[in-house]
C-alpha cells in the first residue's frame, strides 16, 4: 500500500494521503470484451479509500452521465454468458421490483450487481435463475431463454442464494451427494465429487457433521460447494458475504476468484462496495429497479474525475471551516456531513497544503484531513443521491 500518513502538531490536523491503497488480488488482468469478443487491456483497480461517509444529500445526476453498457445485440446467438433485455418484474400490488433492465455479462468475467436492499438485485437473480418469471422482457443464459428453456438453463447454472439453502438435518457430505444426484451424478462419481468439493471449500473435517452445527461462514462455503457440483458455466451468488465476519468474507472472495479462474462466469450481487471493487471485472449499479451505472469499477470511478479531500471537523465549526477553506482551484463541489466536509477536487494531493494553510490562518483546528481517489460509493452517491453503505449519521448533511 502506497499510503503516506503524516501527523502535524496542533493546530494543524493529521493528514492522510492515500494515493493507491491496494490492488486487486486476482490474477485476471484482461477481460473479454462483450462487444467484440477480443481481449483488451484492463486498468488496475484501486481499493476503495473514500472519504468519511456522511456527506449527503446531493442532487442525483442523470444515469446517462455514466458510460453506457457494452453494445447490445437484439437477437441472434448470444456470445455472452448472460444477456437480458428490458427485463421487468412487477409483483402483485403493482410493486415494480425490476423496471426494464438490460444486462450483458461476458463469458468468464465476474460481474457485480450492486445496490441497496430492495433495489431489485435478488429479483433479477431469481429471474435469471428461472425461479421467477419476468413480467416482461427477455433473459438468456448463453443461448438459452430462461422462460422457454428453464430445465436446460438449470443444468448450466449454479446458484447460491441470499438465504443459505441447506438442510440442517443432513451432514455436509450427504448434502453434497444429494445435490450431485439431483444433477445426475450418482454412485462413486457423486462420492468423489462431494469429496473434491469438501476439500475445495475446506470442510473435509466437518463433512460428517450435520449442517445445523456449522458456523455462518461454513454454511456459506458449503452452499457455494453445492452450487458447483455439476461444474456450472455460470455461477449466481446472491449477496454471498452478507452477515459474514471479515475473515469468512475474505475466504469466500478467494473461493470466488478460484472458481472464476477455472472459467466459470460469476454473477454476484452485493451491497458492499469493497466487495464489488475487489472482485468484479465489471459492475452494474441498480437502484429502485433501474440500472443507473455500468462499467468497470475503474471506469466508473474515473468518470467522477476528481479526488475527494475529507476534512473531519472533530468539533470545529462547520460554517467557519467551510468559509476558511473558501474557493480552491479545481474545486467542483463541497458536500457536508454532520462532522465532516468532503471537497471534490481535480487535484486532491496538490490542494492539501493550501487547505491546511488556510485553516492555520483562520486558527481552526480540525480532526483530520485525508485525500482519496473516488470510490464506488462516490459513484453510487452521484448516480442516486444516496450513500449505499451509509448509516444514520450520513443523513444529516447538505449539498453545498
Amino acid at each position: 500500500m502506497d499510503a503516506v500518513r503524516r501527523r502535524r502538531a496542533s493546530p494543524s490536523p493529521p493528514i492522510s494521503i492515500i494515493l493507491d491503497s491496494g490492488r486487486r488480488h486476482t490474477a485476471l488482468s484482461t477481460i473479454r470484451s462483450p462487444r467484440s469478443g477480443s481481449y483488451q487491456g484492463r486498468p488496475t483497480l484501486r481499493r476503495h479509500a473514500g472519504p468519511p461517509l456522511g456527506c449527503e444529500p446531493v442532487t442525483p445526476i442523470a444515469p446517462t452521465h455514466f458510460p453506457a453498457a457494452p453494445a447490445r445485440e437484439s437477437d441472434g446467438e448470444n456470445p455472452n454468458a448472460i444477456r437480458a433485455r428490458e427485463l421487468q418484474r412487477t409483483f402483485r400490488g403493482g410493486v415494480d421490483a425490476v423496471r426494464g433492465i438490460d444486462l450483458d455479462v461476458a463469458r468468464g468475467e465476474i460481474f457485480g450487481f450492486l445496490g441497496p436492499n430492495g433495489a431489485g438485485k435478488t429479483t433479477t437473480v431469481r429471474m435469471l435463475c428461472t425461479l421467477l418469471p419476468p413480467t416482461a422482457g427477455s433473459a438468456h443464459v448463453g443461448e438459452l431463454d430462461v422462460v422457454e428453456n428453464p430445465a436446460a438453463v438449470r443444468r448450466r447454472i449454479g446458484v447460491a442464494l441470499q438465504e443459505i439453502g441447506l438442510d440442517p438435518l443432513q451432514t455436509g457430505r450427504e448434502l453434497l451427494e444429494l445435490q450431485c444426484g439431483l444433477y445426475g451424478i450418482v454412485g462413486a462419481q457423486a462420492r468423489a465429487r462431494a469429496q473434491e468439493l469438501l476439500e475445495l471449500v475446506g470442510l473435509l473435517d466437518a463433512a460428517e457433521r450435520r449442517t445445523k452445527t456449522y458456523s455462518g461462514g461454513m454454511k456459506r462455503r458449503l452452499d457455494l460447494a453445492s452450487a458447483l457440483v455439476h461444474s456450472p458455466d455460470v455461477l449466481f451468488l446472491d449477496e454471498p458475504t452478507t452477515g459474514l465476519d471479515p475473515a469468512s468474507r475474505l475466504t469466500i472472495w478467494e473461493e470466488v476468484r478460484r472458481i472464476n479462474a477455472q472459467g466459470t462466469t460469476v454473477f454476484l450481487t452485493t451491497q458492499y462496495m469493497e466487495e464489488a471493487d475487489q472482485l468484479c471485472d465489471r459492475v452494474a449499479i441498480i437502484d429502485r429497479g433501474v440500472i443507473v451505472a455500468e462499467g468497470t469499477p475503474e471506469e466508473l470511478k474515473s468518470q467522477l474525475g476528481h479526488d475527494v479531500v475529507s476534512v473531519e471537523l472533530d468539533g470545529a465549526d462547520l460554517a467557519a471551516t467551510q468559509a476558511a477553506i473558501g474557493e480552491l482551484e479545481g474545486l467542483e463541489r463541497v458536500v457536508t456531513g454532520r462532522d465532516s466536509l468532503a471537497l471534490y477536487l481535480e487535484d486532491g494531493p496538490g490542494s492539501i497544503a493550501e487547505i491546511v494553510r488556510r485553516l492555520d490562518g483562520a486558527r481552526i483546528r480540525v480532526g483530520a484531513i485525508s485525500v482519496a481517489r473516488p470510490s464506488l460509493d462516490d459513484v453510487f452517491l452521484r448516480a442516486t443521491g444516496r450513500r449505499l453503505e451509509g448509516d444514520e449519521e450520513n443523513h444529516g448533511g447538505r449539498d453545498a
Binding site: 425461479l131 430445465a151 439453502g165 438442510d167 438435518l169 445435490q179 444433477y183 445426475g184 450418482v186
Partner: protein, 251 residues
Amino acid sequence: MTEVLLLGRRAVREVIRLPAATVPTLFIPLFFLAVNIGQISKTFPSSTPFLHGQGYVGFQLPVSLMFAVCTATSGLALVTEIDMGYFDKLLVAPIRRASIIFGRLAADMVRGLAVATLVLLVALAFGMQVRSGIPGALVLIVLAALWGVAYAGIGMLVALHTRNVQATNASFLVFFPLLFLTPNFVPFELLTPLMEVLARANPVSYVIEGLRSLVLEGWVLDKLAICCGVILVTGLVLTWLSVRAIDAYDR
C-alpha cells in the same frame, strides 16, 4: 425416478433424525385409545352385536390409526424448507418439481408404517385380536399408512399456497371434523339421523369402516374395496393438487 428416491431417502432420514416431529403425534392416538376404551368399554361389552365378539378396543383402533397417520408433518417440512431457502435450491435443480412432493410422500409412507405398527401393537396389548389374521394386520398397517400419504396432500397444499408455518400447522384442524363426523364411537345405524347423513357423506367413514372390518369381521371385500377406493381417489386428487401447486409456485 432417481430424484424421487434421493429426495425420499433424504426425507426418511429426516424422520429418523428428528423423532421429536413424530413422537408427539403418537401421543394423541394412544391417549384417545386408552381413554375411550376406559370410558366406553363397559357400555359396549363384547356381547354388543357390532363388536362381533371383540372388546371395544377393536372398534376404536381404526380411529386411533387415523389420528396417528393424519399429520401435517410433510407440509411443515415443506414450509420450513421454503422458509430457510432449501426449497429454492431444489427448485433450481434440473429435476421435476413433482419429485419434491413424491419424496415427501415417501417419508410419509415410512412414518405411517412405523406409527401404525406401534398403535396396532398397543391395541394388541389391550387384548385386541385381528380377525383377518397376520395378513389382515399387515394390510391394516399398509392401508393406514397409505391414508396418511393421501392425507399429507392437505398439509402440502396449505404449505405451498400460504408459505406460512402457522397456517400449515393449523391445517391439522381440518382433520377433526373429518374424523368426528364418522361412525367413530358407534356404527352408522346408531347415529342420530343428521349425524348419519353427515357421516355417510364423509369419505373418512369408509376408510374407518374398511380398517375396522379387518379387525372385527375378517376379509369383507366390499368394505375393503370401498376403503381402498377412497384412499386411492383422495390420494390422487390431493397429490395432483399438490403437484399443480408446486408446478405453479412463483410462476
